[in-house]
Symmetry: C2
Subunit: 146 residues, 2 copies
């Protein structure tokens, strides 16, 4: 049930972006990679996915970088994780987009269990916004930089 670095790094990067989105300046990927200690090129790939999903905007060229595509309180962590990880389902048969169904789908006991786990995860990640995480961060860290 472990998230891959895609999910973990990607969410971190987005919180970083949210924290530095006060100014209207786009944030270059290098800054995020340095602050979060993530390989720059690898992070680039993750953000590419988020951009294609419409969650971040990019500005090319010098002084360019990335910005959130929507306000931090309009982006839920669930959307990030689903984009980054492909799916957050514990089993393929309960995946949100492409539910691979086994033959015995109708009378599979464990499937109900996977559904309950999936629902439970979704209820958490769909209720937490980037703004919530920023607030939490500021509460914990006061004036310190990330």
């Amino acid at each position: 049930m472990r998230l891959s670095t895609k999910g973990r790094y990607g969410v971190k990067a987005m919180v970083d972006l949210a924290l530095h989105s006060g100014d209207e300046q786009p944030v270059p990927i290098k800054d995020i990679a340095d602050r979060q200690e993530i390989s720059e090129h690898y992070l680039e790939q993750l953000i590419a996915g988020l951009r294609k999903a419409g969650l971040v905007k990019s500005v090319r060229g010098a002084q360019g970088g990335y910005m959130l595509a929507q306000a931090p309180d309009a982006i839920v962590v669930g959307d990030l994780l689903r984009t980054l990880e492909g799916t957050i389902a514990p089993a393929d048969c309960v995946a949100e987009d492409k539910p691979v169904n086994c033959e015995r789908a109708d009378n599979c006991v464990t499937r109900i269990l996977w559904e309950k786990i999936h629902d439970s995860i979704n209820s958490v990640v769909n209720s937490i916004t980037l703004q919530d995480m920023v607030n939490e961060y500021k509460r914990l860290n006061g004036q310190e930089s990330m």
Copy 2:
């Protein structure tokens, strides 16, 4: 967040065992493997872990097999998954046994998120027993065999 076959097969096998535990006869692994369509040798490894964790008992020799070590309503799915998967935490820093802590543990925002996800998963899997799954199964399938 996908469970591996260890977790999925293991839980299936335990539900199977619970379903066939009415008789006091131990159930040979071959029967479970056939019914659940799992490689016999592979399942053997999974059950070995469950046995070491005290969740199943074995009877060696001819007419031997496996039995639940406790009543089905005393075994929660969470114990199975933790044994089978090692941990069900979404990130190592919130793992139940060996919480690998990063330096910035104290002021890590995402950690709080992983904790919430972890708690949410645990609340589900720790509240569902094998008996619950057997009941659900019987409700769905009536007289049919598994």
